[in-house]
């Protein structure tokens, strides 16, 4: 299927989640995200030096991460720097994980405020 730029919002959302999960379902791409988490704003050359993979292979993985919104590339002078964008992961967290942990967390929050209230 080719990429249709005029997707509707619902497609966009579904596609976004799909893209994030697919992007995360690969150890090389998770490794790249971990490297950016440790130090953000890296060039392709820097990222490539930490992987036993061709430059083209790393570029391909970075493109998947960019399409999923997990990496944002910005120009800085002559360099293209790659930044980890944690927002898509946060959105999945807020949408899916919160739903299942809300009760437990709110119980902890109640406990916290109770303890702090008597401190």
């Amino acid at each position: 299927m080719t990429c249709d730029l005029s997707v509707t919002y619902f497609n966009r959302v579904t596609d976004d989640d799909d893209r994030v999960f697919k992007a995360l379902a690969d150890p090389t791409r998770r490794f790249l995200l971990d490297r950016l988490f440790a130090r953000d704003g890296r060039t392709l050359t820097e990222l490539e030096s930490e992987l036993e993979m061709t430059r083209f292979g790393v570029m391909k993985h970075l493109r998947v991460l960019e399409e999923a919104g997990l990496v944002v590339a910005r120009r800085s002078g002559r360099e293209k720097l790659h930044f980890l964008n944690p927002v898509p992961i946060r959105l999945i967290h807020d949408r899916w994980i919160d739903k299942y942990t809300e009760r437990r967390v709110s119980a902890l929050a109640d406990l916290k405020s109770e303890l702090e209230g008597t401190a």
Partner: protein, 168 residues
């Protein structure tokens, strides 16, 4: 357990796609009636949305009930192109150490896309502010300091798309 980055990271970039007009996103960033409904929930105040205009962000009533000072953040508008771009200085005042890291530079870029979806990119240049960088990346969420910009943008998206605030 939180991890500090292994070297001084000086710029953070956050991007989110929101089904809203650029104007609605601009208002949500610059007007207190919106700012109090998402993120940390305090009022923002731009004296003038032109270069040199003062910026203040206040704590929420809930934060003040826990002993927080009234003023959370201060800064000044550097560049403004409503509803596409806002560049400003930004200094966190809620903690002495954070305040001592001084002013940082924050840029909002708002780009209208297709199908009513707008791309919001936030770039925070945090040179010389490693503790603030840690806070804003959500590194202190476990100790109750909130999830930083990811959390703020996620709740902004949620508010604009559903009309419902994630705050109680």
């Amino acid at each position: 357990m939180t991890t500090m980055p292994d070297t001084a990271v000086t710029t953070q970039v956050y991007r989110v796609y929101i089904r809203a007009t650029p104007e609605a996103i601009w208002d949500a960033i610059t007007k207190p009636e919106w700012s109090r409904k998402y993120g940390y929930g305090g009022d923002v105040e731009y004296d003038d949305l032109r270069p040199g205009g003062a910026y203040h962000a206040y704590t929420s009533p809930e934060m003040r009930a826990h002993g927080a000072p009234d003023l959370a953040i201060d800064g000044e508008v550097i560049e403004s192109d409503p509803p596409r771009k806002l560049v400003q200085t930004w200094r966190m005042l809620m903690d002495e150490q954070l305040a001592s890291e001084g002013f940082t530079r924050l840029t909002y870029e708002i780009a209208e896309g297709e199908g009513g979806v707008t791309k919001l990119t936030l770039t925070h240049e945090l040179e010389g502010a490693p503790q603030l960088a840690h806070l804003l990346s959500g590194g202190l969420e476990d100790v109750g300091a909130g999830g930083g910009w990811s959390f703020v943008l996620s709740s902004l998206k949620s508010l604009l798309e559903t009309g419902e605030s994630m705050l109680h």
